[in-house]
Structure formats: C-alpha cells, structure tokens
Amino acid sequence: MKCATMESRLFTAERPDRVDADVQRHLAECSACRATHERLVEIERAIPQLAVPPSTLRAAFVAQFIQHTPAELPAAETVPVVRLMRPTPSVKERGLRKLAFAFALAASLVGIAIGLWVLNPGKPVKVDHASVYRIHLASRQNSALTPRDRAETVLGVADEVRDEVRKLAQAAKDADGEKMAELAKYYRQLVGEELRQHVRDLPADANRKLVLSALEERLRQTESEFTLLAAPKRATKAAEPLQIIALAARESSAELHALATE
C-alpha cells in the first residue's frame, strides 16, 4: 500500500483508532505514516476535552419550560409590544436579559391559554407554531437599538416565517395546512403593524429613503414569488396561506413606497 492510499483510508475512516489489517501492516513498516496515525488519534481524543464556556441557562430553561410551554396562544394581536431602550449592556448581561425577556413574554402569552387548557383536560396539547418566532423576535428586538435595526429585525423574522411556509407548501402535506395558515397570519402581522411601527420611527435623514426602498424591494420580491407559488396550488390547503403572504407583502411594500416618496 502506498502512503497516499494509507492516508486516504485513514482520513476517511469512521474510527481512525480502529484501522483494518492492511492499514496496520503499512503502519508497522512506515514510520512517517505511523506518526500521522498517532497524531490523528491523539487529536481526535483531545477534541472532546476542549474547554468551552459553560452554559448557565439549562436549569432556568427547563424550569420555565415545564411551567410555561407555549400552548394555544391567544390571538397574535394581543401580543404586547415592549421596546427596551438602554445603553449597550455587556454581552453576558445581554444574554441573561434576552432570556428573561423571552420567558416573560412567553409566560404572559400562555397565561390565558393554560387556563383554557385546564378547562379542557382531555384535549391534546396544541402547540402554537408561531411561538418560536415570537420568542425569537422578542429576543432579537431586545438587542436592536435603532429603529432601522428593529425594522430589519422584524422583516428578518418575517422572512424566516415566510421561508417555513414556502417549505411546507412545497412538501404539500395536508396535515401542515393549519400550521401554514397560522404562520401566514403571523407573517401578515409582522409586515403589517409590527413593521409599520418601526418604520415610522426612522429618522428623517438622508438614509431614510434608502432604508425604506431596501425594505420595500424585499417585500416586492416576496409578493412576486408567493403570487407565483400560489397559482398552481389553488386546489390545495397551501393556496390561502401563500396568498395571505403575497397580499400582506404587497400591501406593506405599497405603504413603504408611499412613505419613501412623501
């Protein structure tokens, strides 16, 4: 066996520490390959020992999760909009605040839902599909310090919601109809009232028009793509959510266009 062949077999082995007889014979005869083999095994044994900063959130997450798993959340419109303005905190402080804020938001949203669930104990737990994105948005908004950051964060989360709906629509499973509908409604809320609120706060400077135009362009692309996606799905459960997203993107882009040309 040539050294190059040996190296290739060694590097593509699932377990370099358990090589087959051919490789072992070569290793017994070739000191350079033996050194490579020993070094690789040593490195792979050392990797799991590498230090990483300890995660401090597991216990808090578990405790909060058991008490406050997002279940049947109330209508999205009741989500309180909390905006925190503060000087830039330390990285650690920001992380802890984000967690606390996310859980506080989740807890406030599920209060009514848990009550409803308790009244219907036989009913299976229904997970709110948008809750992950709500928490995600709350978490990111907490570190977005300017109106532009906040507007871009909202649209960023909206794009993630949109992408999930696209993926579900392409998978074309009837069981996903309810999830798509729920996510599409949340998308409409994001690019509607949530985004509107932040773009109104944009300072009237030279960048305002550029920012508005960039956001408008992204929404126009979504509108155009989802209009096309919805057309062949007319007879399926995916049609309505796709149309909701296309329409919401169109209305929002028109609104941004009007603001940009004011």
């Binding site: 699932e14 070094r39 490195i43 799991p48 590498l50 995660s55 597991r58 999760f65 997970v127 992950v132």
Partner: protein, 190 residues
C-alpha cells in the same frame, strides 16, 4: 460519549421519554432537554464561537423540537434529528443576520499550575485555535463524528448532505487539522 448504562437501556429510556413527550408530557421533554442540552450547546458553541449565540440557538432548537415532536419517528435517531434542527437554526441565524462568523469568546482563563498542566493547556489552546481555522462546514462534520460519534450516514442526515460529501468533509477537516498542528520541519517548503 461515556455512559455507565448499557446502550440498550439508555435507548429504551430515551424512547419512553420521547413517547411521553409526544403526548404532551412537558416533564418528559424536560428530561430530554437535560440529556441533550450540554451536547447540543457544545456543538453549537464550536460552530458559532460565541456563548450567548450558542445558548440562544440551543433554546430555539429545543422549542422547535418540541413544537415538531409529533413528526419525529420513534425508530429514528433522536440525537441526529435534534442536531439537524440545531444546524438549520445555526444556518438560518447566519443567513438571516448576514454577518460573518463572530469573534470567538475568551475561554476560561488558565490558572497557575504545574508545568504539565500549563503544557496541556497550551496544547489544548493550539488545538482550539486550529479547530477555529477550519471552515464551519468541515468543523460541523468533524465534531459530529468525533464528539457525537455519529456515522457518516448520520452526519449526512444532520447536515443535509450525501454520505459521500459528509465523508469528504471529515476527510478535509482531518487533513487540515493535521497540517495546522504538525510543526514544520526545517527545510520544508512553505
């Protein structure tokens, strides 16, 4: 992945937790969180190289896993499924924010100690530095192999690749790591 229990017992226990969690038992899902949090966080930390990002991604991964748990098939590999969600979150996070890889956190500072300990720490730091220099795709695949003990087929599922591409990424990661960590001898060409 050292464990004192026989693997079959651990799997049976895990399947029982999954079945209960699929029926809405939050405590059972919390058991899965306890079991996988550190492993998932550690992998995401190596990818994101930032403690708070890794913690955010870990939380999100578990929330998404819970929301989609009814889709998990009992005969599948739960770790692989969970890490796949984690990888999608990681990819979305960096695609969404359009940022480059963040600067790494400072690791816990070394303490004074015997010479061997200092040498060990220096070796570990050298390895950590080399790992950081690998492209994230290679790093992700290698760590799933070395730390999680996943097969190439399982790595391919987590990272949404073909098995051959997963194998190739691990191959390249090993090759680069060795090149980075092997001291050049005098007379070697640069």
């Amino acid at each position: 992945m050292a464990t004192s229990q026989p693997i079959d017992d651990v799997r049976t226990e895990e399947h029982a937790l999954i079945r209960r969690a699929q029926q809405g038992d939050r405590a059972a899902f919390a058991g899965l969180v306890e079991q996988y949090w550190d492993r998932l966080y550690r992998w995401l930390y190596h990818l994101a190289r930032n403690q708070h990002t890794a913690e955010d991604l870990t939380q999100e991964t578990f929330l998404k896993a819970f929301a989609n748990l009814t889709r998990f098939r009992a005969e599948s590999n739960f770790a692989g499924w969970l890490f796949r969600i984690g990888h999608n979150n990681f990819a979305n996070h960096y695609r969404g924010s359009r940022t480059r890889e963040p600067l790494p956190d400072d690791l816990p500072s070394p303490h004074e100690g015997p010479v061997e300990e200092v040498l060990l720490r220096e070796t570990q730091q050298g390895l950590a530095d080399a790992l950081v220099k690998l492209p994230a795709d290679f790093r992700a695949a290698l760590l799933l192999r070395v730390e999680e003990g996943l097969s190439f087929r399982e790595i391919a599922k987590v990272l949404n690749l073909t098995e051959e591409t997963a194998r190739w990424r691990v191959f390249k990661a090993r090759q680069k790591l060795l090149a980075l960590l092997t001291p050049r001898r005098e007379g070697d060409q640069s």
